[in-house]
């Protein structure tokens, strides 16, 4: 009983002293974004401030790297910097509401077109002249976004490097997601995911982004033993985009004009992601007319980070061929 009373006294003291914080306090649980920290490199595209960096000679062929999610960021894509040695200009950016980019309300993700327009804005921001070669390198959702752009602008992109896009139609995407998101109520991983809801509730971006990061325990069946690198997940971006896809599945169909894109596309999938596999890779990649398909060994879904040693030489060879 003494211990209980002592605990309550400690609790009362802690509650009243200045050492307690709010989950929403800036910088305590998630890093600051470009809106709070002016030292973070950024650009403004379509009225939204994006975390963005470039490496290499700006007049070299430009590779725009598109991260996954929606809601993830380009920290796990940084291996692409190695292509600077091969005389490419590498452009990274965190999509709206993701990583260290500006946070927005859910209305900012009301259609897929905002992502495509944002990508076009980034290309135009960095492009030196109309003759500069442009390559899109997308991972997962980023590969879907790249395809969405190409579907609207076939034959304007000189090279396309795609790693495990969920699908180019909603049916393909939901088929893949249903394999990766299997809920098993009696397993630790599932309960860790839902049990957290009684510990943290919130409506501000700091709290929601932090809570989202705690759900990334690495307990997935995409073949990755550890959690990929990231700075800060965009929880509102992620949930609003999923809502958008469920309510407007036709917007996730990127195949209308895809067959008119003539250039060869590099498409890779991982050896260890059992939810994907060659069969799904063949199904999705067949939406393109001209595809070079490769399996990347000894890695799961996070190919750009954990499968880079196998991925890099394939990219290099492909780019030498198509440019």
């Amino acid at each position: 009983m003494k211990n209980v009373i002592l605990s309550i006294c400690c609790l009362a003291l802690l509650s009243s002293c200045g050492d307690t914080h709010e989950l929403s306090d800036e910088g305590l649980l998630v890093p600051l974004t470009v809106m709070e920290d002016a030292s973070i490199p950024s650009i403004e595209i379509n009225g939204v401030r994006l975390h963005s960096e470039t490496f290499g000679n700006p007049s070299d062929p430009m590779i725009v790297v598109l991260h996954g999610g929606p809601g993830a960021d380009y920290r796990s894509q940084l291996n692409f910097k190695q292509l600077v040695e091969d005389d490419y200009f590498i452009v990274f950016y965190d999509q709206r509401g993701s990583g260290l980019s500006e946070r927005l309300g859910k209305e900012a993700y009301s259609n897929v077109q905002v992502y495509i327009d944002e990508l076009e804005g980034v290309i135009n921001y960095y492009r030196q002249n109309a003759n500069q070669k442009i390559i899109l390198a997308g991972h997962s959702w980023g590969a879907m976004l790249a395809t969405g752009y190409i579907n609207q602008n076939p034959n304007t992109i000189d090279g396309v490097v795609l790693a495990e896009p969920g699908g180019f139609t909603w049916d393909q995407t939901i088929e893949y997601l249903s394999k990766t998101q299997q809920i098993k109520l009696l397993e630790e991983g599932t309960n860790d995911f839902v049990y957290l809801d009684q510990f943290i509730t919130g409506s501000d971006h700091n709290t929601l982004d932090y809570k989202f990061s705690l759900s990334l325990t690495g307990d997935s069946n995409t073949g990755d033993a550890i959690i990929p690198s990231y700075w800060r997940f965009g929880a509102v971006c992620s949930s609003a985009s999923i809502e958008l896809a469920i309510n407007n599945p036709e917007q996730l169909d990127f195949t209308g004009s895809l067959k008119t894109h003539d250039q060869k596309v590099l498409f890779v999938y991982s050896e260890l992601n059992e939810s994907y596999g060659r069969e799904h890779a063949e199904l999705v990649s067949s939406e393109y007319k001209n595809v070079e398909l490769h399996e990347i060994e000894n890695c799961g879904h996070e190919i750009p980070e954990f499968g880079w040693s196998g991925y890099y030489p394939i990219i290099k060879t492909y780019l030498e061929e198509v440019l």
């Binding site: 890093p31 809801d197 009684q198 510990f199 990061s213």
Partner: protein
């Protein structure tokens, strides 16, 4: 005055808890001690074991404590509750009871260990007969204070992440139906089904529902 003192002490001691579905007719007619168990969904598939004790005043107070864990391979998550229920309105078969529970809950993954001190308050209106009852429950659960300690894996994501105490980390309303049916002299089966809503503009839980199926054994 003595009754009030006990309630005040209980309120001070119990920082966090959740409701136990009680048939006040059974409580008033039966013995002082009971053990209860529940299985269901309460922010995860959970199992719960508890003990309740009736204090006989002009209106009885039921003290209770229980422990629940979510299903899974590791016993690093749990919820411990201690509190009291009291019948405050008694008009024949219609009764109204209030409950205050203190809760300590723990959550641990490869990223964080969180311990929360919380409280639950609820009111239940019900129709209570000798062998059964139905009731409507409305309650509020809020985390008063939580301590977050992050693992090296989380520190690799964000090197400046803080291990610290945080206040008001969660709150949600819960409301639902409860019912019970007595089987013989010593056993009662009960069931709860309800929904949760996070406070104000907070984002709701992924699965904002709870469901419990339980049994109460009257001991002596």
């Amino acid at each position: 005055m003595k009754n009030i003192s006990i309630v005040v002490i209980l309120l001070l001691l119990s920082n966090i808890i959740s409701a136990q579905s009680l048939n006040w007719n059974s409580i008033e007619q039966n013995n002082s001690s009971q053990v209860y168990t529940n299985i269901g969904y309460d922010f995860g598939a959970t199992v719960q074991l508890g003990y309740a004790y009736k204090l006989n005043f002009n209106k009885p107070i039921v003290l209770m404590t229980d422990f629940s864990i979510p299903m899974g391979a590791e016993l690093n998550d749990y919820k411990f509750r201690i509190g009291a229920q009291r019948n405050i309105i008694d008009r024949g078969s219609f009764k109204t009871s209030v409950e205050y529970i203190g809760v300590v809950r723990r959550y641990e993954t490869n990223l964080v260990r969180q311990i929360s001190i919380a409280q639950m308050m609820s009111i239940t209106n019900g129709w209570y007969k000798d062998g059964w009852h139905v009731g409507i429950e409305v309650g509020y659960d809020s985390s008063i204070l939580s301590h977050l300690k992050h693992t090296e894996e989380m520190q690799r994501v964000y090197a400046d992440i803080q291990d610290a105490w945080f206040k008001n980390t969660s709150a949600y309303w819960y409301y639902g139906l409860q019912t019970s049916k007595k089987i013989g002299q010593r056993l009662e089966l009960n069931m709860e089904l309800g929904k949760t809503n996070a406070r104000a503009q907070d984002v709701d839980a992924l699965l904002p529902y709870y469901f419990n199926f339980g049994a109460v054994v009257f001991l002596n």
